[in-house]
Symmetry: C2
Subunit: 240 residues, 2 copies
């Protein structure tokens, strides 16, 4: 029997799943100042990420993009850790804030995405906005077909609108779209919205202290070792 293609589009969480934010942010912090431990600062800055989106998700705050939230979180983290922002050149602070646009890909990301692109529409499904994701793709050579940022859907995951509006813009029913992520909560929300799901572990995302998301904890459609393995597994579902 001829296998059917499981989905038409394979979309990806980006921060942590496709790119190594901890390495990229640590490096940018180290280049900015030697006043703090770069890795610790990166973890602390990222630690404010989910809470900062909560008021947007709940509707208390109008949608603002990640450049705004990252900047607020940068200032709070700097104040808490003693990173000197006020005495720095404003353009250097802006450059540091935009380090989230310049993150390195995990080693398997580009080869895996390149293979997937042969058979599927590929793109990010990220809380990043369109310009950030475009700059990230240029920087890390991510071969996306299409980029629909959170400033287009006006929703932050795991808000169901983030998943559903993306599928709608692709004119695909949710079940023809797969989300691939290293985060079980993201996949749970995508599955609840009707998307297909794939988990890949990124056990080094947070460093040695990582306890969450070391393995799949839900009934995901695919569990893969990395993006290259995901491409191999999905190939079995592609008509030859």
């Amino acid at each position: 029997m001829r296998p059917e293609r499981l989905v038409d589009a394979v979309l990806f969480d980006t921060f942590g799943t496709v790119v190594d934010w901890r390495a990229g942010i640590s490096q940018a912090v180290a280049e900015f100042s030697s006043a703090v431990d770069p890795n610790e600062f990166a973890l602390a800055w990222r630690g404010r990420y989910q809470p900062s989106m909560a008021p947007v998700r709940s509707g208390e705050r109008e949608f603002v993009d990640l450049d705004v939230l990252h900047r607020e979180n940068l200032e709070a983290t700097a104040a808490a850790t003693g990173l000197p922002l006020d005495t720095a050149d404003p353009s250097d602070v802006d450059w540091l804030n935009r380090a989230w646009h310049r993150l390195p890909a995990w080693p398997d990301s580009v080869p895996g995405l390149t293979e997937l692109k042969r058979h599927f529409i590929i793109g990010p499904l990220s809380n990043g906005h369109t310009a950030l994701l475009t700059n990230m793709a240029k920087h890390a050579s991510l071969p996306w077909d299409v980029i629909i940022g959170s400033d287009i859907t006006r929703a932050y995951k795991p808000d169901p609108n983030a998943y559903l509006r993306t599928a709608e813009l692709l004119r695909l029913p949710p079940e023809r779209v797969m989300l691939c992520a290293a985060h079980n909560t993201d996949l749970a929300a995508a599955q609840e919205a009707g998307l297909r799901t794939a988990f890949i572990p990124r056990p080094a995302e947070y460093g040695p202290s990582q306890r969450l998301d070391l393995q799949a904890t839900g009934p995901w459609d695919v569990i893969a070792q990395d993006i290259v393995d995901l491409a191999t597994q999905l190939r079995e579902h592609v008509p030859s």
Copy 2:
């Protein structure tokens, strides 16, 4: 003196400028039926394109995408020319209508875009919607970095919002964005909105009867022979 990069993003009109709609539509019509002249039908179908967007531009009609407008225009053209739609399989009619998603690139498009992609953000700035432009890119191997369809800007060119909202989503000032088109009216509107402009002639777009847009008629920033030549000319403005 070190040359500066003229712009950050080089965006393209698609129908006629990047892809040969007359060839693609003629072929799809020929495959659908032998009741009409395929080339004449393609010209007549396309002839209803600009008028059909006018009520959306003026605000009389809420935004509807090109699948909707192409379908209405297909039915009107079929009625006027004797193409039998009612007796055809509905899925064949839908396939014909979506021939606008499957148009062939002009021979210079992919090599020229591939070269431009090395130095600039490249994407369409088209009246097509995101799904149509994504499918077109997959079909014709157009290596866009980002696709912002008219369903995202909710505006049809030459409405200034089409140009300005695209630049805004890229977080670029209009003068850092270039529109490349084979149509002088499109470039005039882009220039009026503050974008940079490049003209490339597509004298075969409408076939032997073409009288418009055989040459540049405005003060465009660049006039190129084709997209490969555009890449060559813009390379002179790129820091090496």
